[in-house]
């Protein structure tokens, strides 16, 4: 039997999991339709960079990043709480979850902010025929 000690609750985690889930639906659709839309001639890198130099799009993408990371890693942590019996292992997994989330957040933010020019073309960024 696991410890029934009254630790910190889950009200905020539960509430924001639902809230991010609801907000993610339209944000994810916008992201998919704009950033992953296949055009007549394949994926248009230039269109993506053209959009991404707009600060509002950057803000939207960073919002999407924060919402998606919170939703995913909070959901993962909920699974650990359900199925991991050892409190020590749960603490380690929680730490790894937070660390993983932070690393992906930094990588995502750096990627979004680094797109400054519409002419930016990466090594794999040529428009496909």
């Amino acid at each position: 039997m696991r410890d029934r000690g009254i630790g910190s609750g889950g009200v905020m985690g539960w509430f924001f999991q639902r809230l991010t889930g609801i907000v993610l639906v339209p944000v994810l659709l916008v992201h998919l339709l704009t950033m992953h839309r296949y055009h007549d001639h394949g994926l248009a890198w230039e269109q993506v960079t053209n959009l991404m130099i707009n600060p509002y799009w950057k803000a939207l993408e960073i919002t999407f990043l924060v919402l998606a990371l919170y939703h995913a890693f909070n959901g993962l942590y909920a699974l650990f709480q359900d199925y991991v019996k050892s409190s020590g292992v749960r603490l380690v997994l929680f730490s790894l979850t937070v660390l993983g989330g932070l690393v992906l957040f930094i990588v995502g933010v750096v990627t979004v902010l680094s797109i400054q020019s519409p002419g930016l073309v990466g090594t794999a960024g040529k428009v496909l025929p």
Binding site: M1, R2, V11, M12, G13, W14, Q81
Partner: protein, 234 residues
């Protein structure tokens, strides 16, 4: 009278290494319940068969067990409502004490943690009881009828994997008092309800609703508790 086959889970921790199933073919009457069948087996075929029973009227909750894969009260389930062989097993999720008897100590400990009694710090009136309006009393319907048989908690997959989870029965009972307009105990209960073993461990699987022999809705009670906690905390 007709013949029916009972396939019964057996386990004696003092003598058996593994559980096994015993099969009994007995004569039953049309009006018998599963409990009548078990009594007939115990009294006339195998006196070592162990199970709990008390009121025989679906009130005490002692004879909750799994009948053909579904939790039910043996004293309420008619044999005629079950087709073919009748498989009787103990409630899942609890340690088996012997045969169809399970250890529900942990279940009742969880119940006590939610303080299932009226908490009111105001002195009661001296000339009458603590009265409610009919509307306020109606809020309790669907909560007070719980007989604490454990069928709901035993059917909950969240409880199977995390037996520190309070479970639907304890949470339904907590809601019974929290939605009572005479109760002032939310502050005393909020700690355990909003803990890692409280309402957030429920994943609205609805097995408890399926399992409840009194047709109650513990999932709805848990959702209402969450709503109250959100209102209190945010």
């Amino acid at each position: 009278m007709m013949e029916r086959i009972f396939r019964i889970f057996r386990f004696n921790p003092e003598t058996d290494k593994e559980p096994y199933y015993d099969t009994f073919t007995i004569e039953v009457q049309d009006t018998w319940t599963i409990l009548d069948g078990l009594n007939a087996i115990k009294w006339h075929h195998d006196g070592t068969l162990s199970y709990r029973r008390s009121c025989r009227h679906g009130i005490c909750g002692s004879c909750a067990m799994m009948i053909n894969g579904k939790n039910d009260l043996a004293c309420e389930k008619q044999i005629s409502s079950v087709k073919g062989e009748i498989t009787v097993e103990p409630l899942k999720g609890f340690p088996v004490t012997r045969d169809l008897m399970v250890d529900q100590t942990h279940f009742f400990e969880g119940l006590r943690l939610v303080k299932p009694w009226l908490i009111n710090h105001t002195a009661p009136p001296t000339d009458k009881e603590r009265l409610q309006t009919p509307e306020d009393r109606k809020l309790l319907d669907g909560t007070w009828e719980c007989i604490l048989c454990g069928a709901c908690t035993s059917s909950c997959p969240a409880f199977w994997d995390n037996d520190s989870f309070l479970g639907p029965a304890a949470l339904l009972k907590a809601y019974r008092y929290i939605c009572d307009t005479r109760d002032e105990g939310l502050d005393e209960r909020i700690g355990i309800l909003d803990s890692k073993v409280g309402v957030w461990r429920c994943h609205t699987i609805f097995n408890c609703v399926e399992a409840c022999p009194k047709d109650l809705n513990p999932t709805n009670a848990i959702v209402q508790l969450r709503r109250r906690l959100i209102q209190e905390k945010l």
